[in-house]
């Protein structure tokens, strides 16, 4: 018979993350948001017959961080996948899940929850001393004696549309064009005015001597006429 023997807390690791263990009843009122996967390292038991073991764990939604993105995570649609699709199970309302009759060896558990990126978990089930497993987050190689998994990050699938601002209009190609025109129309004459008339003449002569017909001397030529 598959009886889960959970002894959470008996060998709690001194790591920071282990504090975030919430009692099950408080959870339904929480408004989704950070998911914690709490897989007890000891939640393993030998099955009644054969070489199968049970792996039990927990996914926990917690009210930390994030606004809005939790909307597209339906709690009911959190899937836990063993070995790339060999078995699929779902999280219960309190976040618990379990796989049964898992043979000894090294396995991979993945969590699919829309809106969150989870690290896959490597789970070693030892054949020699039954009941002993090791779990490691494969993404950051963090060993978990008590398997408290935090989602690596939340996933925002959409670009955030910035609210309308004058800056965005100015930054748009048309805004830039207009800005450039304004600069040419109003600032340029000022710059030319402030220049020493001698200097202007010298510059114009220089340009003429180069023989390159430029827009500026074309303009000034017309003005002089």
């Amino acid at each position: 018979m598959a009886v889960e023997t959970e002894r959470s807390g008996s060998r709690r690791s001194p790591r920071r993350g282990s504090r975030s263990f919430f009692p099950a009843p408080s959870w339904p009122c929480l408004l989704v948001l950070l998911i914690l996967l709490v897989t007890s390292a000891h939640a393993i038991s030998q099955a009644g017959n054969g070489a199968g073991y049970s792996v039990a764990g927990r996914i926990k939604f917690d009210g930390i961080s994030s606004k809005g993105s939790g909307l597209h995570t339906k709690k009911s649609n959190v899937k836990i996948i063993l070995n790339g699709g060999q078995r699929v199970t779902f999280a219960r309302h309190n976040g618990y899940f379990s796989f049964h009759n898992v043979p000894a060896g090294t396995h991979l558990i993945e969590v699919s929850a829309m809106g969150f990126l989870f690290s896959p978990v490597r789970v070693d089930i030892s054949a020699r001393n039954p009941g002993k497993i090791q779990a490691v987050l494969t993404e950051n190689r963090r060993a978990l004696s008590e398997l408290i998994l935090e989602p690596l990050r939340e996933e925002q699938y959409y670009e955030v549309r910035e609210p309308f601002s004058i800056m965005s209009l100015v930054k748009s190609p048309m805004g830039l064009m207009m800005g450039f025109m304004l600069v040419v129309v109003f600032v340029m004459p000022k710059l030319v005015e402030n220049m020493d008339p001698e200097e202007i003449r010298r510059a114009q002569e220089e340009m003429r001597s180069q023989g390159v017909p430029s827009f500026s001397n074309l303009l000034s030529g017309q003005a002089q006429r």
């Binding site: 959409y158 309308f164 450039f180």
Partner: protein, 982 residues
């Protein structure tokens, strides 16, 4: 002046780059270019839940392993769960009014909350053998008490608590016992009836509290049993003998087991075939299925049989439904030409019908496969009935009062192949239409400007959104300039061809294959694949495009094939024929005839090639190409890859010009004790490569090794051929080969030690990307292999390019070693992968993106630049300029680059990409249980303005500029005049 202009231009450029446009989607753009459809698959179990108050719903389980709750009014999904691939649902039920109980893969019992679909508990039953399993929920009046669920699985009976799924007790029987019926007697005991061997019936009576066997009776029947039974009542059931020709009535009444035999030939005069008992649940009756009819029979006084009705095939009968007044009703569906007759009868009056309706059904839906009956109380207190009907094409209909209330096209949940077809060219557009559309266009843009300038009110905003989503342009039935509008022609497992419009995903036409081939005496029509047959352009413009549908007439691979050519504008059958040979492999040739029909070669199981279309013209086109045509086969079971060439016409068959013999040229045989083929992939045959040359950072040129015959094959060690977790890193290795499929030469071979499958690979241009599992790091990995042509490496300058060594001038020999260099690199990748594809564009200029279907049923677009073997941890400035990304050990997963954004294509199986006419854009169709379509632009839409581009703002800018010119002109005139006066 120049010194002032320069910084200004610099500033402008800087600003332009600051306001960079992201390729990702804004939330309000959802549905503008993409569409998403949710399906469930062919329904096999349905339970109605129609309370007086609250939402009426039906809970279904399907052959795609989906459990879903549907709205009975409109057929929409309330919730849905897709179980694992091999977790098929055996039985579903509703208990306590608010829980759905499912039993799947024979041993997993799950309870779901009916309103929201949340899993309440899951119980895994330890079974040694997998066999037929069923569960029984005793009907209890008290709600809230700890009810027990009795589950029979693998020769054991379990009592499971309905509150938490805890197993209360377990009773093991002999391994071979297959329990057929479980029920609770009025005094609370559990009775289990089953077959324990081929000729023995066992009856157990157990205590519901602890599972103690109270009574055990058994009896054997010399003729043996077929192991299917229909229970007429608690103590009478019918079964068939081992030869399926004698009906055995088993009476358990009075503590002993009695058999009554009836020959089926006595019931149906002169019938000699076999029979089957339908699994429908009736009381007092049962249904017997013969070859051409269904017989409904009543059992009188526990032994006498009476035939109620003989219904000719195709027909279907529902389970019986218990009405409030204790009567039982059941539905029968019969076909009559284009009409379907639904009749409902009561068990108290079998001679007459309580309800008789005829419904006109689309003939492309085929015959009725299953019917589920439900009743409701009308306002005048009489009974009304509604029926859920599953059709041959896997669609689901709700029929009520002779009308189809809603229908779901659930055949689309099992697409096996897809192709595309162009839409007709637009002819003659009326002026009024143009005026109308211009007016609409201006109106739309004015609204958009209002939206940008924050002047729009809520109503306008809604109008803008509606306009974007339901643009008339998008759903037109004609070809568009950008090539975004096409038809997706898909083939489903039910044997139906459907054409979907890429604009909104609606079904343009559909065609069911089985009625077309009924005359060919095809019992099991297995659809195989779909190809483009005719793509008219240039000189055959007046022809309609058509698609080739290939199916097989039988369950085995050596069964004769059936081909069908379907007009893709109308869905009409152009021609259909049953082949004299089987279909093992289909090869579209790069040759077309004068009407643009593509030549196809079909290889049969005798390794003979057959040319289609069977016209003298195609023979004349193909004959000169015969010596240059090769094909290969990958025999994964035998561990061999073989290459063949074509010889002349077949010798043994008489005078068939279209049949060719083939000759084995080369073979690669992998030793079965060390390597096992797990995957083989080639380039898409219609992929376009723009250029072979690639300029790299230091102005050097690299030549890609472009070969259409590059075959990627992956093998794993036999011990690591199973799932992850079944092998240790020491015994696992993965070997990857790149093989030239014409010469059989191995271009490249690489071994990954400590790696195993599953392997997903994509071959494109000169590179291969494959995904596998690294057991040492215990992470998924993706590797890229790029092959470059070394023979042209000397052609550095234009002159050398023109006069130097060239592929066309250099002699080609199968024995010469291709001068290639191979570079490869590996990266970690977080997710498991279900399928992988690469974008394809019209001219092949645009850079590529990999489309990765992840285990979470999302599609991730990953730039090919991340999978470039030339990446280094610290690229030089020239390499940076070229766009080489510094090397990282794992590939980035950017949430905004999921093309499926916040949607999940449940049960993702495949991703098809096809080029649009617009070079920057590629169309993507992802299919599984759900369908998703979108278009992607891997290098952004550099050749067209985005959908967001505001024409009105541009116009306003121009108007303002012109106005300011006039104003300044007037001002300067005035000033000049003043100066002159001065």
């Amino acid at each position: 002046m120049a010194m002032f202009v320069k910084p200004i231009i610099g500033l402008i450029i800087a600003l332009v780059f600051c306001s960079n446009v992201s390729t990702a989607l804004y939330e309000d753009q959802v549905g503008v270019v993409d569409w998403y459809q949710q399906y469930i698959g062919k329904v096999k179990h349905a339970i109605f839940h129609a309370q007086k108050a609250g939402r009426r719903r039906v809970v279904v389980a399907t052959e795609e392993n989906v459990i879903a709750s549907l709205d009975l009014r409109r057929g929409e999904l309330f919730w849905r769960h897709v179980l694992g691939e091999n977790d098929s649902v055996d039985q579903i039920d509703i208990a306590l009014g608010k829980y759905v109980i499912t039993l799947s893969s024979g041993s997993i019992l799950r309870t779901w909350n009916l309103p929201d679909g949340q899993m309440v508990w899951e119980s895994f039953l330890q079974v040694s053998a997998s066999s037929m399993s069923l569960f029984y929920v005793p009907a209890s009046i008290e709600v809230g008490t700890d009810q027990q669920i009795f589950v029979s699985a693998g020769g054991c009976l379990h009592a499971v608590s309905s509150i938490d799924g805890e197993v209360i007790w377990k009773r093991e029987f002999t391994d071979s016992l297959e329990i057929q019926k479980l029920f609770q007697t009025p005094d609370g005991d559990i009775t289990a009836i089953g077959f324990s061997s081929s000729s023995q019936i066992d009856i157990y009576q157990l205590s519901a509290k602890n599972g103690d066997i109270l009574v055990h009776k058994s009896a054997s029947f010399p003729g043996g049993f077929s192991r299917e039974a229909s229970f007429v009542s608690g103590d009478v059931f019918v079964t068939l003998d081992a030869t399926r020709s004698i009906l055995v009535l088993v009476n358990l009444n009075g503590g002993e087991i009695r058999f009554h035999q009836t020959h089926i030939s006595d019931l149906a005069e002169g019938y000699s075939g076999t029979a089957a008992i339908l699994p429908q649940k009736f009381t007092g009756m049962f249904a017997l299925e013969l070859d051409s009819l269904i017989m409904l029979m009543k059992v009188e006084s526990g032994r006498d049989l009476e035939i109620i009705e003989k219904i000719p095939h195709p027909a279907s009968i529902s389970d019986s439904l218990l009405l409030a007044n204790g009567q039982q009703a059941f539905a029968m569906v019969k076909h009559e030409e284009t009409k379907v007759h639904l009749t409902v009868k009561l068990d108290t009056d079998l001679k007459s019908n309580i309800l008789k309706e005829s419904i006109n059904l689309d003939s492309q839906r085929g015959s009725v496969q299953k019917v589920f009956l439900n009743n409701y109380v009308k306002t005048d207190k009489s009974h009304g009935f509604r029926a859920l009907v599953v059709m041959e094409d896997h669609s689901l209909l709700l029929v009520q009062q002779g009308e189809i209330v809603w229908s779901r096209e659930d055949g689309l949940a099992s697409i096996i192949a897809s192709t595309t077809s162009e839409l007709p060219v637009e002819k003659g557009v009326s002026v009024a239409k143009v005026e109308h559309s211009i007016f609409e266009w201006i109106k739309g843009h004015l609204l958009k400007v209002k939206g940008t300038l924050m002047l729009a009110n809520a109503e306008d905003l809604a109008a803008i959104q509606r306009m974007r989503l339901k643009s008339f342009e998008k759903t037109k039935m004609t070809r568009d300039h950008n090539g975004f509008r096409k038809l997706l022609v898909v083939l489903t497992r039910a044997g139906k061809v459907l054409a979907l419009h890429t604009g909104d995903g609606r079904i343009v036409w559909s065609l069911l294959l089985s009625p077309l081939h009924s005359s060919d005496s095809c019992q099991h029509l297995i659809p195989v694949d779909i190809y483009q047959w005719q793509v008219p352009h240039h000189h055959a413009m007046d022809e309609n495009p058509s698609v080739l549908v290939i199916s097989r007439c039988g369950l085995h691979s050596d069964a004769p094939g059936v081909i069908l050519i379907v007009d893709s504008y109308s869905g009409k059958v152009v021609s259909s024929s049953k082949l004299s040979h089987s279909v093992l492999q289909v090869m579209p040739l790069p040759l077309t005839d004068s009407t643009e029909q593509r030549l196809h070669i079909i290889i049969d199981d005798n390794k003979k090639a057959h040319l289609y279309p069977r016209t003298p013209e195609s023979i004349n086109i193909f004959r000169p190409e015969l010596p240059n045509t090769y094909w290969y086969s990958v025999e994964a079971v035998k561990g061999a890859i073989k290459g063949y060439s074509f010889r002349g016409n077949c010798i043994d068959t008489d005078e068939d010009d279209y049949c060719f013999d083939t000759r084995e040229l080369w073979s690669i045989i992998f030793p079965s004790d060390s390597e096992k083929i797990t995957g083989a992939t080639t380039r898409k045959h219609n992929e376009v490569v723009h250029t072979q040359a690639k300029t790299i950072g230091n102005q050097d040129v690299m030549y890609k090794y472009i070969s259409k015959n590059m075959l990627f094959v992956a093998t794993v060690s036999p011990r690591a051929a199973g799932n992850i977790g079944s092998a240790t890193p020491e015994e696992a290795y993965l070997v990857v080969y790149l093989i030239d499929a014409v010469t059989g030469r191995i271009i490249h071979r690489v071994t990954h030690l400590g790696a195993q499958g599953p392997i997903h690979a994509v071959v494109s241009e000169n590179w291969v990307v494959y995904h596998y599992f690294n057991l040492r790091a215990h992470k998924y990995e993706m590797s890229v292999v790029e092959v470059n042509d070394q023979s042209r490496q000397d052609n550095k300058s234009i002159w050398k390019l023109l006069l130097g060594k060239h592929n066309l001038t250099s002699p080609v020999s199968a024995f010469s070693q291709p001068e290639v260099t191979v570079k490869s690199q590996s990266y970690f990748f977080t997710h498991s992968v279900k399928t992988m594809a690469v974008t394809s564009t019209a001219k092949g200029i645009t850079s590529k993106q990999l489309l990765i279907g992840t285990i979470g049923d999302q599609v991730l677009a990953l730039d090919k630049r991340y999978l470039d073997p030339r990446r280094t941890p610290d690229p030089s400035p020239s390499e940076r300029e070229e766009g080489i990304i510094p090397l990282t050990d794992s590939l980035p997963i950017i949430p905004q680059s999921y093309v499926t954004h916040s949607l999940q294509v449940e049960g993702l199986r495949g991703i098809a990409t096809m080029p649009a006419k617009l070079e920057s854009t590629s169309l993507v169709f992802a299919y599984g249980v759900d369908l998703f379509f979108t278009r992607v632009a891997p290098s952004r839409t550099y050749d067209s303005l985005t959908e967001d581009f505001s024409y009105a703002l541009l116009l306003i800018t121009i108007v303002v500029l012109v106005a300011s010119i006039f104003v300044t002109w007037a001002l300067s005139e005035k000033k000049e005049l003043e100066e002159k006066w001065r």
